[in-house]
């Protein structure tokens, strides 16, 4: 859809299960009927005290699926362990993304 304000293309994003249209140009956000309420509901859940811990004998929740990666990728296919995402590694890697290297 087109942004009602500046007429640039709008893109759909999923935020905590709520579909949000955001303008690629002015960054304005468009909410469908009920979406503001859904966001408000999520916000109130966030500020409530955490629910009681689940009963002990329960399987670990499924980890979010890592995106696909090639076979020659870093060990563990670019998700956990042995990666360079944290702290100064991240800063360093990010700095390199700014250059044609």
């Amino acid at each position: 859809m087109q942004c009602p304000k500046c007429h640039a293309q709008m893109h759909t994003y999923n935020r905590n299960g709520v579909q949000i249209e955001q303008c690629s140009n002015c960054r304005g956000i468009f909410l469908d009927y009920g979406e503001l309420e859904a966001l408000t509901r999520l916000e109130s859940q966030w500020s409530q005290p955490a629910p009681p811990a689940p009963p002990a004998p329960q399987a670990y929740p499924a980890a979010p699926a890592a995106p696909a990666a090639p076979a020659w990728g870093a060990p563990h296919g670019g998700h956990h362990g042995g990666q360079h995402y944290g702290g100064h590694h991240r800063q360093k890697s990010f700095g390199r993304m700014l250059f044609s290297s």
């Binding site: 995106p67 696909a68 990666a69 090639p70 995402y85 991240r90 990010f94 993304m97």
Partner: protein, 317 residues
């Protein structure tokens, strides 16, 4: 530092362009001025809201003019130049551009991954492509990096792995054959340094640097982030944001859903090889060991030697 004749001339060119139509500024004038880059392949200076760029010494006038025309015609995607044709200066071609605010290297969390992906999708969907554009120069630049590695670092311990990975690539990705796609408009050298906000500092993001722009395999433009993700250097969520935004904008380089790697594998290998080759040559020139980021690139090259490339469904080579 003593300014070279080129740098001095370029600075004067930017100042003159910045003050076009007004009274000539005093010399030196009070406007903000800076050298943004001074490399063998490009010198870039800023004066107030104008940027002047001296292109690489071997740049062809006709090709650069066609690329400027493309940028002029696609102002929603590419930053448009201030003039339609390059002008000569000390044996180099010079172009002038409006200044835009670049990506902040200190703020990885603010990196415009979605905007970069969306701009690429729009670029790749451009029809008709501005006429007579030369091929996108991505494979040629990868080949150049490998040739330099061979020439300058033949005995470096990392070199065999990098050259071995290079040999896994099809001829088109090594610039030894035409690309399998000759109709899609591509940027050719996408990285986060190729995005600016114009008008500065809060305008929309636009792609800059048309030196490698042309027709070719659009997955090449996704390949640097893809390579960094594969090498364990770009977090999965940032890669996912980039890829999802590209797909949401109907970019044609990858299928709309499912595994994107049959399309990305060859270009991502090529960009990994290019980055590893440049890093190795640079480390040798500076007489230092590879750092951990550079080593991750070389390690990925070493693994490529034992895994044949995936073939894109549309690829014929």
């Amino acid at each position: 530092m003593t300014a070279t004749p080129l740098l001095a001339g370029l600075t004067a060119r930017a100042r003159a362009q910045a003050h076009t139509g007004g009274t000539p500024g005093p010399t030196p004038c009070s406007c903000g001025a800076a050298t943004l880059a001074d490399r063998a392949d490009a010198t870039v200076v800023r004066h107030a809201d104008t940027v002047a760029k001296a292109h690489a010494p071997d740049t062809a006038l006709d090709d650069l003019t066609l690329r400027l025309t493309a940028a002029t015609r696609l102002p929603e995607v590419l930053l448009p130049p201030l003039g339609p044709t390059p002008t000569p200066l000390h044996g180099r071609l010079v172009t002038c551009w409006p200044y835009g605010t670049p990506v902040d290297p200190e703020r990885p969390d603010a990196a415009p991954w979605e905007e970069a992906a969306t701009l690429l999708a729009l670029l790749h969907r451009t029809t008709p492509v501005p006429p007579a554009l030369p091929p996108m120069r991505g494979p040629a630049k990868a080949a150049l990096a490998v040739a330099r590695l061979r020439a300058t670092a033949p005995h470096h311990p990392a070199t065999p792995a990098v050259l071995g990975a290079w040999r896994t690539l099809p001829a088109w990705a090594r610039a030894e054959a035409p690309m399998p796609d000759t109709t899609t408009l591509c940027h050719g050298d996408l990285h986060l340094g190729q995005l600016v906000r114009h008008p500065a500092p809060h305008g929309p993001w636009r792609l800059i640097d048309v030196d490698d722009l042309g027709v070719g395999v659009p997955a090449w433009d996704l390949a640097r982030p893809a390579a960094w993700y594969a090498c364990g250097l770009l977090p999965p969520d940032e890669w996912t944001r980039f890829l999802d935004a590209y797909r949401a904008a109907a970019g044609p380089a990858v299928p709309p859903d499912g595994d994107p790697w049959p399309a990305l594998d060859v270009p991502a290998r090529a960009l990994t090889v290019q980055s590893a080759a440049r890093a190795t040559a640079k480390a040798l020139a500076e007489d230092r060991p590879l750092d951990e980021v550079e080593q991750a690139l070389v390690d990925a090259c070493a693994r490529m030697g034992s895994v044949p490339p995936q073939l894109a469904r549309t690829s014929t080579t």
